[in-house]
């Protein structure tokens, strides 16, 4: 088996397996959550919980001024990484072509130069987040193997993607294979790790916002 066989597998079967594990895994995780009992709240509400829930889904994305003073680096790096990862994933021309091949829809891409800058910023932000995790006593105390593993799994697609932009023809196949495999790793571990927060945070915010809104409190 040479590098082209591996690339062929990573482009085809490998990607398909990863997408299926990701999709079915996420669905199972969400169903596990939704199927749990939730008794109706019998206390007379002050305001609509539904509206309050939606409000918190959006407002909790805004930076907390209370925390900005305490954890500025963490907050700024967090924003750069999340926005950067999202932009690179959805607005890089080759990614859009892939989505078009898979789902038949496409949208305008950002110029490669901008994508490159955003990629560098995102990688920098990830290292800042790692430094914070290691140096901050609370984060170091809370961190488990999974936190560091997920950090690495989030870094690899960005790093290999960046290197791919600067790779000569000679090692292009190797780097593309590494990029595809790193993405597949991220997809496979996604449903079974804290990466799930990309979906569940919206439910968490909704539940919290709704429970508080019924009491007349804006959170």
């Amino acid at each position: 088996m040479n590098i082209f066989d591996i690339l062929q597998w990573a482009r085809g079967t490998g990607l398909q397996i990863a997408v299926v594990i990701f999709s079915v895994g996420v669905l199972i995780r969400l169903l596990e959550m939704w199927m749990l009992n939730r008794k109706p709240d019998l206390a007379e509400p002050r305001a609509s919980g539904t509206l309050g829930g939606w409000r918190t889904v959006f407002t909790r994305s805004a930076p907390s001024m209370v925390l900005m003073k305490k954890a500025g680096l963490l907050l700024v790096s967090g924003y750069i990484f999340h926005l950067g990862f999202f932009i690179v994933l959805f607005f890089f021309a080759p990614h859009i072509r892939l989505f078009h091949n898979m789902f038949g829809v496409s949208w305008p891409a950002l110029p490669n130069g901008i994508i490159e800058i955003i990629t560098i910023l995102s990688i920098g932000a990830l290292f800042a987040l790692l430094a914070h995790r290691i140096m901050n006593p609370v984060q170091r105390f809370l961190s488990t193997f999974q936190d560091y593993f997920v950090w690495l799994a989030s870094l690899l697609p960005l790093l290999t993607g960046y290197l791919l932009l600067h790779t000569s023809d000679f090692s292009y196949s190797q780097m593309l294979t590494a990029h595809l495999l790193s993405v597949e790793l991220l997809l496979v571990i996604f449903p079974f790790t804290k990466l799930m927060h990309a979906f569940t945070t919206f439910f968490s915010r909704w539940y919290t916002g709704a429970m508080a809104a019924r009491k007349g409190v804006t959170v």
Binding site: N37, A43, H197, T208
Partner: protein, 418 residues
């Protein structure tokens, strides 16, 4: 595995619902909740990070409610919390959490962390890992009717005193009135002026009200210790009295958790909506103010501030009413930093004040309130929770701070227009 541990884990399994599953799925270990918790900010010890206090519950969720957790459990790889772990977590759950809910306000993924602390206490109490002080208070509440052992006879004696002091009739067990006023033990025993103050205000407003000889105690140790079963027994006493007396509204007194227990948890604990309204005394006073039935005269000349009881404001939604009322008599009162929904706890909420073991830590973390007060230089602090009052007075005394702690209801009563 011991029977009590099994019962504890079963109680946790029973309490895990969709929000809790969502919260555990969402936590990214960012640690921001630590900066919102006064037990962390005042000690600098990472073990007080709010989300860490929920580790036993997280283990139960992972093992019982996730696909891979269940698979790992089959091979003995996903371990349940042990008795030794619960012993270790008892102090984190009961001594270093006042259920103040400040952490729930800042979590970037939106986790209501204190909602989970309340639920994990169900498992702790079922497994026998609750603090002795809180257990004793709960037993007294169930057997005698009050966590401080106040009986109906004590109440009758205090009614006589209040009637004599105010020259007003203090109705007991009067049916068909608008309001049934509950009291906290602290108000009956330590702050007896509260009863007279309420009587004077209701007299001026011309509203009908009563006390009850079977449901005088508003506080709920069952909720604080984390036993829904016992909390329901205590709520049921109030529901029975309110329905027997056919009152329109039950008034929760100046106590934070009593309001949460009756207003927000009450109907869910007894399993049906109430046939009467539940209002905090400040909500009632603010309604009377808006209707022009509460009239005051004279203004305070002292520099004052307002301490927000957590269960009343952040977790209860009674935010504007105390401010409307305080402005009637102290228009120039000053707000402390982080006032309102982000105010800091007195340190003794959520049953911590009934837990003697927690006292040194509670006194230590009062430094947060001290910092807030030092910045504004007031000579009086008004609040609306008798537990906060006790805790604030102790903290101020310990720090040699010369600041009076006042009840808002009593302050309003002192200024009633003649």
């Amino acid at each position: 595995m011991s029977t009590s541990l099994q019962q504890g884990l079963a109680a946790m399994i029973d309490k895990i619902d969709a929000p809790i599953a969502s919260f555990f799925n969402s936590c990214v270990h960012c640690g921001m909740c630590a900066d919102a918790c006064l037990f962390y900010t005042e000690t600098g010890d990472p073990k007080y990070t709010p989300i860490h206090k929920l580790e036993p519950l997280r283990k139960v969720w992972y093992r019982e409610f996730t696909l891979e957790g269940r698979l790992l459990k089959m091979f003995g790889l996903a371990k349940a919390p042990t008795d030794a772990e619960l012993v270790e977590w008892e102090t984190l759950i009961y001594d270093s959490c006042t259920l103040c809910g400040r952490c729930s306000m800042v979590c970037p993924v939106g986790n209501d962390i204190v909602y989970m602390v309340r639920k994990v206490r169900e498992g702790m109490v079922a497994s026998g890992h609750a603090p002795a002080g809180l257990k004793e208070a709960t037993v007294r509440s169930i057997e005698i009717g009050s966590p401080m052992g106040v009986t109906a006879d004590t109440l009758r004696a205090q009614i006589k005193h209040a009637a004599k002091d105010t020259g007003l009739d203090i109705p007991l067990d009067k049916a068909g009135v608008d309001y049934l006023l509950l009291m906290s033990s602290a108000e009956i025993m330590q702050f007896p002026e509260f009863m007279g103050a309420a009587a004077q205000i209701f007299h001026q407003a011309g509203v009908s009200w009563t006390l009850s000889s079977t449901a005088y105690e508003a506080t709920n140790s069952g909720m604080q210790i984390g036993s829904s079963e016992l909390a329901a027994v205590l709520v049921k006493r109030i529901v029975d009295a309110a329905e027997k007396l056919k009152v329109k509204t039950v008034i929760s007194p100046e106590c934070g958790h009593a309001y949460t227990a009756l207003r927000w948890e009450g109907p869910n604990l007894v399993g049906r909506p109430f046939t009467f309204k539940v209002k905090h005394i400040l909500e009632v006073l603010d309604e009377l103010r808006a209707e022009g039935k509460l009239r005051t005269e004279g203004l305070e000349t002292e520099r004052m501030t307002f301490h927000d009881p957590c269960q009343l404001v952040r977790r209860g939604g009674v935010h504007d009413q105390p401010r409307n009322l305080l402005r009637m008599v102290a228009p120039d009162y000053v707000e402390m930093e982080d006032a309102g929904n982000m105010n800091w706890c007195c340190g003794g909420g959520g049953g911590v004040s009934a837990n003697e073991r927690a006292e040194p830590l509670r006194i230590k973390v009062f430094s947060r309130k001290k910092k807030q007060l030092d910045k504004i230089g007031v000579s009086a602090m008004v609040t609306a929770c008798s537990n906060c009052r006790n805790m604030l007075e102790e903290g101020l005394e310990h720090n040699h701070m010369d600041i009076k702690v006042l009840s808002l209801t009593e302050l309003i009563a002192e200024h009633l227009a003649k």
